[in-house]
Every structure is written in C-alpha cells, then in structure tokens.
Amino acid sequence: MTGIDDHLMQIKSKLAGKIHDAQIIADSRLEIRTSPENLLDIMTFIAQDLEFPSLEAISGVDWDTYFDVVYHIDRWDGDSTVIQVRVKLDDRDDPKIPSVTSIWASANWHERELFDMFGIIVSGHPNLKRLLLPDDWDEFDHKHISELYPMRRAYTLPEKPFSYKPQPKEDV
C-alpha cells in the first residue's frame, strides 16, 4: 500500500503540533493520537484534504482513569486505509468532546450513543439525547449510579451471570 505512507507523511507535515503521535499500527491502519481541542481541525483536514468521505464508527473506551474516543474513518475508492483517530479525554468527571456532525452527518447517532453509553458530552451536537436507553433513563430508580452510563467499566454484570445450572427437582 503506497497510499497509507502518503497519508502518514501528509498528516505528519501538515498537522505537526496538533497531534501527539501518528503511526501505522497494522496493515492499512493509521493511528492518530490527539486531544479534543484540536479534533475538529484534524477531522476537517482528514475529510477535505485527504478525502476520507465516510465515518465508520465512534467507539468509546473507558480506561478507568480516563476515556478514549476512537474514530474510524474510511475512504472507499480502492484504498483500504482506515484512519483511527484516538482522542484522550483526561477529565473523567466532565468528559467533553466536540461534535463532528458538521463534517460527517453519519456521526449523529454514533455521538448520541457515545453520550448514552459513556456520558461523554458531545458539544455542538444538534440533538444530543439518549438513543438506545429511554429518554427519561436518568429519572429511573437505579440500584447503582453506574447504571446511568452502562458501558463504563464501573457497571459490571452480576457475578456468574450466564452459568445456567438446572436446579434439582423437588419431589411433588
């Protein structure tokens, strides 16, 4: 793949100072590490200058002390490079990230899911409310506060959740 090296060179030259690190992590996987302040500039550069027209997925990762938000961005025409933008959110109590819906419309639901599952506030999102959980989920009577954002590590499934043991039959 010649494409991916070109992309890496361009990113390193044009975005120097805005990114923490850029490297090829696997076949046709290019990772950029950055912080939320520079995210929109980087995304605009990727979408418009590198011509990556489609956003695949936004995944949140909870590393106990901080959050990562990982964007996978794709271009379809024969080039299999997927740019993986990894944004580190240090402030765990008030995680905030700018919205990229103005660049890729498909980010809409992904960002809502991010808010829904991790409680990461996506600033600038046109319609930031819960997607998969009910709208009034916050008002429910929760057993534990971690149920508010269930994909965080604090929320765990019950012990031995799925080991099914048939109970011995009681005599009638």
Binding site: S28, E56, P161
Partner: protein, 362 residues
C-alpha cells in the same frame, strides 16, 4: 390539507420489520420531517462481550442478527484471529467462504420478500422464502441449526462438511440462478413495480458517503464499496467475481444490486467448491489469552460493512468490543431519504435499507 400532523409508525407497525418507531411529520400525503426512535431491544451485547472469555461470546454474536447470523459470528471469529495473529488453513478458509456466501444469499432472499411485501406484491412475499428454505436446509445439514449456527471456531470450524454436501451445494447454486432470473422477470418487467421503485428514495453518491451508507445501499449510489475487494479477507483474492454497482441510487438500483449479488455469490460458491483443498487442518488450537493490542476488523456482511473493534488486555476477556453495524448507519440515513417524499414511499425506502433491529440496538 395544509395542517401538519404526526404519524407514529411503530413500534408495532407493518412498515418496520422489527421494533422501532418512525415518527413522521406529514402535510397531507407529503412527508416534511421524520424522527427515528430505536432501542426497544437493547441488550448491551457489547457489555456481554466484555464480561466473558472471548470464545464464549460467539453464540451471542449469532444473535446480533437472525438473518445473517453466520456472517456476524464469522466477523467476530476472524477479528479475534487477527488479534491473536493466527493463520488458518486454506481448506477452512474455503469452507468459510462457502458458508458466508450461502448466508448472504439467504439474507438477500429475506430482504427481497420484505421489500416486495411492502410494495404489495404478496406473491413475492412468499416465494423467496421457499428458496431461502432450501439454503437454510443446506446450512442446517452442515451446522445442525437453521438460524443460530455457532459453526465457526477460533482457528477454523466446528467440524467438516457432511457427506454429499458438495454435490447438493453445487446443484442448489444452479437452481438459485434460475430462480433469480424468474424474480427479475416477475418484478423488473412489471411496469407497476418500476413505477414504485424508480426514482424513489434517491441517494446521491456524496450523500451516501457522508451519511455513512454501506453495502448495497452504497453500491447502488455508484461507489465500488465492497470490503471483499477493498480489503480482502479469507480467500476472496483467489476467487474471481465482480462487485455489482449501479448509479441510480434509488430503490430500483438497490434491488438490482442485491439481485446481482446473489448471482455473484452463487458464482463464488461454485468456484470455492471446485477449488476446495482436500486436506487441511480445520480446527487448530487457539491461545487462551488475548494479547495486548487492538484490532479493527471488517467484513462484507449482506447488509454492508460489519466491523469489530476489539481491544485485548492479556486476559481471556476482551477489554473492549465495539460492534460496527451496517444497518445502524443505513437506518440513520433512512430518515434523510423519506423526508420530502410521499407517505406511500416510506415502506419501499425503509425496506430497501434492509434493516435488522438485532444489530442496530445490539
């Protein structure tokens, strides 16, 4: 009528095959706005994947979508193998290709019957199910199950093909080719079908990319977006096939793309059956622990690009599993497509996106 009114379609409504709500704002017969509400069958499958040893998640991956279970479990297994750095034998790879392509055919038949049923051709609602049943019979013969197969394993497959499978499969592919020709005659030659499909729900190439369309929806808009070609996995580079692309971007183009894909799939299956190596280990031993690292692996699901983002942390249990579902993006853009059209165009547009709520809500 100039007054606007909201029509709720769902969660129980014929237009949505599955549980979701489409809130449509109408002005007479004109749709002026819409909102989609999902989450009715949210099961936190990602959390389940993060709470158990990686190999025990595979039966749950089947449950992501009941129409294309094989491809979801296949994607998961292949992602894990990539993370583990395993290389599986050629024979197992060919067998996987055969299974995945049969699953694609079955899924497209289900789609066809849903689409035709939404247009009101009740005959075509029933008949594709007959052909799908033959495919499912074949898959059942191999795996012992009609829908939730649990056939792939990390390192290969559960067991060999049964006796006589090769001949049955080859005969079935020829039969299916005939049937698809028949469907085309039934639908594409019908003027009313063309009236209802042509120029309905047009998605331009730029919009398709920007809104994150994948799979047949993307290819119907003129982009050569097939992971089997863009980023080949298994033995797809060795097999000769083309990616059907249409430029219309409407429901008709999506129909044609899917019909052409069925033909390509039968073509692939026949090649794979011919080239299937006689010898090869099909179930290797796999390491118990996932290494530290991450992988974003994607395959071509019948609905589009299915992806797993898996982070391993030197443990049996994956640290993070993110599922990228093609129907999720395709449903998101449906709201964009129906706005500005007629109320009567909602069913074909929604159906042509090929939704499966299991993988959307996850």
């Amino acid at each position: 009528m100039s007054e606007q009114m909201y029509i709720h379609m769902g969660p129980q409504h014929p237009v949505n095959h599955g549980l979701w709500t489409l809130k449509v704002k109408t002005e007479g017969e004109q749709v002026v706005g819409s909102e989609i509400l999902i989450g009715y069958i949210f099961r936190m499958i990602e959390k389940m994947a993060e709470s158990r040893p990686y190999d025990t998640f595979q039966p749950l991956a089947d449950r992501l979508c009941y129409v294309s279970a094989m491809s979801w479990e296949g994607t998961y297994i292949m992602a894990i193998e990539k993370l583990l750095g395993m290389e599986i034998s050629k024979r197992a790879q060919y067998m996987r290709v055969i299974m995945l392509e049969f699953q694609r055919i079955a899924s497209h038949f289900t789609w066809l019957s849903a689409y035709a049923g939404d247009l009101g051709v009740l005959t075509m609602l029933v008949i594709p199910y007959r052909e799908r049943e033959y495919v499912l019979d074949l898959l059942e013969h191999v795996t012992g199950s009609r829908m939730m197969y649990n056939y792939f394993r990390v390192g290969g497959l559960k067991h060999e093909f049964p006796n006589g499978f090769i001949d049955d499969a080859r005969m079935l592919t020829y039969y299916l080719d005939d049937r698809v020709a028949e469907y085309n005659a039934m639908l594409e030659d019908s003027k009313v079908f063309m009236l209802r499909s042509k120029n309905v729900g047009v998605l331009s190439k730029e919009n398709a990319l920007n809104l994150g369309a994948t799979g047949p929806v993307l290819r119907a808009s003129g982009t050569q977006g097939d992971i089997r070609k863009v980023e080949p996995y298994l033995v797809y580079p060795d097999l000769e096939f083309e990616v059907p692309v249409r430029t219309g971007g409407d429901c008709l183009a999506r129909f044609q793309v899917r019909m052409a894909e069925i033909r390509q799939s039968t073509h692939i299956i026949r090649q794979a059956l011919d080239n299937l190596p006689a010898e090869g280990e099909i179930n290797q031993k796999a390491p118990r622990r996932l290494p530290k690292g991450e992988v974003y692996f994607r395959t071509e699901d019948p609905r589009g690009e299915a992806g797993y983002y898996i982070i391993g942390n030197e443990d049996q249990i994956p640290y993070r599993v993110k599922i990228k579902s093609p129907a999720y993006s395709n449903l998101c853009l449906t709201s964009h497509l129906i706005t500005g059209g007629k109320v009567a165009d909602i069913p074909p547009i929604v159906a042509s996106a090929d939704l499966c709520m299991g993988e959307i809500d996850r």
